[in-house]
Subunit: 228 residues, 2 copies
DNA sequence: ACAGGCATTATGTCTAGACATATTAGCCAA
DNA sequence: TTGGCTAATATGTCTAGACATAATGCCTGT
């Protein structure tokens, strides 16, 4: 019965939960634990590294390892490709490209991307359909300067899917908020104006600079679910 | 100039982005890469393990490592403790306990937690305040059977903070959605009935069974932000 | 043609030892 | 007291080699 790193992780976690090692307290060093468990230090290191990534402990060289004061609960969201999201619900997917033109980007967009005001950007407006019914209304501003050429015809390939496979996405952020449906959104999604919509706003940056700003307005009833 | 595992990870990622190794394609085995980079196989393994965790590649024993078809973008949400969230915005935090009683839980709650219908649970209703203004309206159902005794006085300690430090939280899920404010929510949050509210619903399970169901109704304008 | 079993192979994990690096505590001098 | 240097120390990473495990695909017998 030899222990693996997952056993070590489980046992350390158990001792933390049981308050044998209280929040904020130091836990024994890797060498000590290695002897205690009868494994190599590298194995203990693997276990503690995993716990640190999970936010349960905090590790610093020389200072040792201590139990996190308020164990931050992290949830992971796998940002779905809308087409696969729809197909995963057992519905037929389709989309309509409502607009595709160059236009000076409005201030909220340029500000978030860190671009000069009124930078000319490519404006894409798309309605995603699930089973023939409106699913998500997407408004996207693309920075042509940060894209490899040539860009494809977004009437056949969705911009999102082309981006994830062709552009080096380095970092970004996503925010969820609730807003009353604007007249335009109400019309396109087929809901009453003022209906509560779940909005996702996403900005993405790549190696060549800011890439895109997307605003997704979801049809009523949509839930974004994450597990932890 | 000896290479570390992060260098290997970066170079492998570069080759994937450049389509030298296309989506769905097999990449060379660890042994091969180790020779090519002039490092030990364990170092290559460390790099590839990290890329697999990030969703860029998929690894299977015997079958080898292949580039993910659609690189899933994962965002991490650090679920905030409301008090710290408020303080982090530079506002004074306070809360009012609006209700604390035992009651048979409604069906949507018991169903989500996997408990029998109308299980008696502890019902807590809390209004969180930021700078004196309503911030979040919290409705919580607690399963007393899954809690260590004694439970503290939730009028002084927030249930959320007591739970994260005293209960073995094993797993859970969180969902975001948008809903029109109910009359009760409108009254408590001081907004117009029907206003669009961002709702977070969370269920948590522990070693002793289902623990809690929480519904958070955020004041208008609230954003839940995540980075990736 | 087909099912079952087995050898092959790539990844997963572990060991023991080594060196690298960050950080702290203590010491000494201004 | 304060500032800065230094030595000690815990974690971070790497190596070379070994065995474990899970799939694959071939091989064989029916």
């Amino acid at each position: 019965m030899t222990l693996g790193w997952e056993d070590i992780r489980a046992d350390v976690l158990r001792r933390i939960r049981s308050r044998e090692w209280p929040p904020g307290g130091l836990i024994p060093g890797e060498e000590t634990l290695a002897v205690e468990f009868g494994v190599a230090r590298a194995t203990v290191n693997r276990a503690l590294t995993a716990l640190a990534e999970a936010g349960v402990i905090e590790r610093k060289k020389r200072a040792g390892t201590r139990v996190a004061e308020l164990p931050v609960r992290r949830a992971r969201l796998e940002i779905p490709v809308i087409r696969l999201d729809v197909l995963g619900r057992g519905l037929a997917y389709d989309f309509k490209l409502l607009a595709d033109r160059m236009a000076p980007a409005p201030v909220p967009v340029t500000a978030r991307l860190g671009l000069p005001e009124a930078t000319p950007m490519r404006y894409l407006e798309t309605l995603h359909l699930a089973g023939g019914r409106p699913f998500v209304h997407e408004v996207r501003w693309l920075n042509p300067a940060a894209l490899p050429t040539p860009t494809p015809d977004f009437a056949t390939t969705s911009a999102n899917e082309w981006l994830v496979t062709h552009v080096s996405l380095v970092s970004g952020d996503i925010a969820f908020l609730a807003e009353a449906a604007s007249p335009r959104e109400a019309e396109v999604l087929g809901v009453a104006p003022g209906a509560a919509l779940l909005i996702a706003e996403r900005t993405t940056h790549g190696t060549l600079g800011p890439i895109t700003f997307v605003r997704l307005a979801h049809a009523p009833g949509h839930r974004v679910a994450m597990t932890f």
